[in-house]
């Protein structure tokens, strides 16, 4: 049986490459950082979790398609958590109410309200499955919270916030530059394939028209002979 890819395709991005490099490392090493991040989010934006009580504080599978691991977010209003997971076989065993899948950069932009979730859904860059009401509630809650991942995490550094900010700014610039370069590489690599796909799509459209026309003729003849 051929396995089919679910969710949006992972773009060729620095996140994808970083994920490949980090893949063999023990992913649980990231857990303390995630604990700090969710604690900080709870401290700075308690409204997000309070709003989620209207849909019984669900658990979500957050799946960045360009990373070799995923996250489970529990939106309990008093003790929310963000757990890293890898290589799960059965989603049912995760006891989540909904799944949200998309490239990491878009998921973060969504968290910060910099990008419209519906627009990502229309373009198929974001896939949600499961309890749609829970996902909608989460989207509305984070959208109203003015979350800024950069600033929120920097506030963890206290007096070292300024130098940490300088390092983060530099890293951001390098990341953006690298992302642009990779995008160009991706476009150049895919251009011949794209041309081939366009030609095939054109042929398929012509064939579909021919089939529709033939079906019409068959129906007409059947009508005459009836």
């Amino acid at each position: 049986m051929t396995s089919v890819h679910k969710g949006p395709l992972a773009p060729l991005s620095p996140v994808l490459l970083a994920g490949i490099v980090a893949g063999p490392l023990p992913h649980k090493a990231l857990q303390p950082l995630l604990n700090l991040a969710i604690k900080q989010m709870h401290t700075l934006h308690p409204d997000v979790f309070e709003r989620m009580t209207s849909v019984n504080s669900p658990r979500f599978l957050i799946d960045p398609v360009d990373l070799p691991f995923s996250f489970i977010m529990d939106t309990h209003p008093d003790c929310p958590s963000l757990e890293i997971i890898q290589d799960f076989q059965n989603e049912e065993e995760l006891y989540v109410q909904a799944n949200v899948r998309g490239p990491l950069v878009l998921l973060i932009a969504l968290l910060e309200g910099k990008i419209d979730g519906d627009a990502l859904f229309f373009s198929r860059d974001l896939i949600v499955e499961g309890d749609t009401e829970a996902v909608l509630a989460l989207r509305n809650a984070v959208d109203g919270a003015d979350i800024n991942v950069h600033n929120d995490l920097l506030s963890l550094f206290g007096p070292l916030g300024k130098p940490a900010d300088a390092i983060a700014q530099l890293a951001g610039k390098v990341f953006n530059r690298f992302a642009k370069d990779l995008d160009r590489v991706s476009q150049a690599t895919l251009a011949p394939l794209q041309r081939k796909c366009d030609a095939q799509a054109h042929t398929i459209a012509e064939l579909e028209e021919t089939v529709a026309s033939l079906k019409k003729q068959v129906r007409r003849r059947a009508g005459k002979t009836a």
């Binding site: 209207s54 859904f121 198929r124 949600v128 079906k215």
Partner: protein, 330 residues
């Protein structure tokens, strides 16, 4: 009479979206309380009393106004929530109340006569007699017109009525008799007029099958999108149905209204205000769409051509239509 400058009326589902709309240049923002009194009563959306008060203050500080939508129909025997909403919105300083129910309009006209009354699109008033009745009886100052009229029809209507008109220019499109559609009631048991949505999120399911995305509403499969197709909302009127062995959109395509190109004609037709749909959308949508229409409305007011808005990515199915404004059917 020709309008000199069109008022831009923009949606807000959260305080953050309200601030985004004000900052992007909205003249007016419409929103609702976090309860059944407004037709976008979704989880995590809408305003508490305190949030609305702060929002009105913020809007005022930037010379914008706030309208409060109380556009559902009070339940028989339980009008208290709706009456309290009228009182609270007026006390908090709302510029106007948007209502559809004649009982609620009567209550607001009698108890809070100083707060303007706008007739919601949910009332589906689209002819001079109906509009004159609402004006005469409840002193309605503005009517939000259903999305079923052409520009010449709106111009003819404006000549015969004595109230302001507000028309939809961007966002979700409904070509049914608004406020009277029962498709979602049939599929989900929830009414778009009382629960505020054609596809209640509690009944929506998406299934990623790898080679196709399946959208369902209740027990009905509404659509199947191939990997290369842009997706749309799972509303029954925009479902893909198989007839004569061919799947197609029988009623409506998954697409959004964009009437930007008609702004000069709408001014000529005497329209007062332009409405952007989307209280359920995020603040990124609000910022981008409001900012684009601010430029478009200003260009139209200055007699300049309306610039391309580049909002296709914000549209359902990534497609746009001019809807009934350019109607070529009866």
């Amino acid at each position: 009479m020709k309008t000199e400058k069109l008022e831009l009326v923009c949606p807000a589902g959260t305080p953050a979206a309200l601030r985004a709309a004000v900052d992007a240049g909205a003249d007016t923002i419409y929103c609702g309380f976090r309860d059944a009194t407004n037709a976008r009563n979704f989880p995590g959306l809408n305003f508490s009393r305190e949030e609305l008060g702060d929002g009105i203050e913020y809007a005022r500080s930037k010379a914008s106004k706030v309208l409060v939508a109380l556009n559902t129909y009070p339940e028989a025997g339980h009008p208290e929530s709706w009456h309290r909403a009228v009182e609270d919105a007026a006390d908090l300083g709302a510029h106007a109340l948007i209502m559809a129910d004649i009982g609620l309009l009567a209550y607001a006209a009698e108890k809070r006569p100083d707060t303007r009354r706008h007739l919601s699109v949910q009332a589906s008033a689209s002819n001079p007699d109906a509009i004159a009745y609402y004006q005469r009886t409840f002193d309605v100052k503005r009517v939000v017109l259903p999305r079923v009229l052409t520009v010449p029809e709106i111009a003819a209507l404006n000549k015969e009525i004595n109230v302001e008109t507000e028309v939809f220019v961007f966002g979700g499109l409904c070509v049914m008799a608004e406020g009277r559609c029962s498709l979602s009631s049939y599929a989900t048991g929830q009414s778009p007029n009382m629960n505020g949505v054609c596809s209640p999120a509690s009944h929506v399911r998406y299934e990623d099958k790898g080679n196709k995305l399946v959208s369902k509403l209740g027990d009905f499969t509404i659509n199947q999108f191939s990997q290369t197709e842009a997706a749309g909302y799972p509303t029954l009127c925009k479902g893909r149905f198989v007839t004569q062995d061919k799947p197609s959109y029988l009623f409506e395509d998954p697409t959004s209204l964009n009437a930007a190109q008609f702004l000069p004609e709408l001014m000529e037709a005497g329209v007062t205000a332009l409405k952007i749909e989307g209280r359920q959308r995020g603040k990124a949508y609000i910022a981008q769409v409001v900012s684009a229409f601010r430029k478009a409305a200003d260009a139209a007011a200055n007699g300049q051509p309306v610039p391309p808005l580049g909002l296709e990515n914000m549209s359902e199915g990534q497609k746009e239509t001019t809807g009934a404004y350019n109607k070529r059917w009866q």
